[in-house]
Amino acid sequence: MAAQEHTGDVILETIEECFERGWTDGLPVVPPTPAGLERMLRGTRRDPQEVIGILPPKSGVLTVEKVALNALMAGCKPEYMPVVLAAAEAIADPVFNLSATAISTWGRAPLMVVNGPIRHQLGINSRSNVFGPGWRANATIGRTVRLLMRNVGGALPGELDRATLGHPGKYAYCIGEDEEHSPWEPLHVQRGFPPEASVVTVFNCGGPHQFGLPRGGAETILNYLTDFLQSLTLFGRGGAADLTVVLDEEQRRILGDADYSKRDVQKFIFENTWRTAGEIRAAGSHFLPDDSDMPDDQRCGLFQSEEAIYIVAAGAGNRFGAFMPTSRSESGVRGPVSRQIEI
């Protein structure tokens, strides 16, 4: 009994040491021991010293070994490594513009959406409570990305991470797409990957704004969503941006039965989210440039294009969806990044 208590003390002291060293997101981590690292590296054939990217803001050198150590601390199983490595590569891609995500007062976070058979192999949730707790793969893969941003990228809250409020997705923000219960083309296929591929896509997102819907058909769903989106609050500084929308199984079924494709939904949202220049000015927004001479009655679209509205099928249940304000993309220069998951 005494020996067991002693072992317990060592475990607690080691976890405390990780806190003291500043390696955690505020929750306890699995201590990064040599044995743990060796176990985690069994999940990949890649060289531990391979550099897979440079993470802003501190230009941290991201190696396979650092990914494995942070995945270990986050609570991942070794078999999660291919997903974690693909996500790490995606956030390190300069196109993702992680420096803005990591440090901005806006307080956004990389939202990971996983497609393909890996979801079933690892138990990545795409249905009920999809943004919520309870699924180890979602929670720990998502958490690994945050620990990498902190420990390798140096995005320490209150220091280089200047988020005013942040949001809970900054702990873990990883969902699967519910391809099997969707009338639509999966996200990764839209983005040019074969259906049988496993892919992770990262978006630079604010927290989920949830909306529940009354009874009604496809247009009711879309009118309800666009009414929510037209709030002047969303016409913030800097002009038209991007949007990520998650629609649950029932919304998808209703929209699909009414022959709405993902593309049709994008088009509807794009065309029905606008306010006049006069309304925006009166609200005191910096949505328009200070020197804009746009007439007061001219319509200003909230989003920059149909293509800048990303529809994701996730969530099961009773007509609830969510939208996430998403950083402005620039075709071929900045925007969401997808990486195939190499098993």
């Binding site: 942070n70 420096s99 901005s104």
Partner: protein
């Protein structure tokens, strides 16, 4: 005696070599001054005031304004390089 396990460092080294601040000019008299605006609202107002004050105090030869296209993006390709070659000193910062 501690029997805690060895812990491996999960933090990364940095890819940035140590850099030193550029040499500061002794005076702005006769110099080309660059102002790089970060594209936040009111940044141009703030930097306009700074320009006015500096022009009152120094015989600045010329002021070159550069502007990022969007606050969340880096300066467009070539802008930093062209300002570095044209200007004797550049002021940048965050307005909001």
């Amino acid at each position: 005696m501690s029997d805690r396990p060895t812990l491996l460092d999960p933090t990364g080294g940095t890819a940035i070599e140590k850099v030193h601040p550029a040499k500061r000019p002794d005076s702005l008299d006769g110099k080309v001054l660059g102002i790089l605006v970060n594209a936040k609202p009111n940044a141009d107002v703030l930097f306009g005031m700074i320009e006015k004050r500096l022009r009152e105090r120094h015989a600045i030869k010329k002021v070159v304004w550069g502007k990022k296209e969007f606050v969340g993006h880096r300066a467009p390709p070539g802008l930093v390089e062209s300002m570095a070659s044209e200007c004797d000193a550049v002021i940048t910062g965050t307005g909001d």
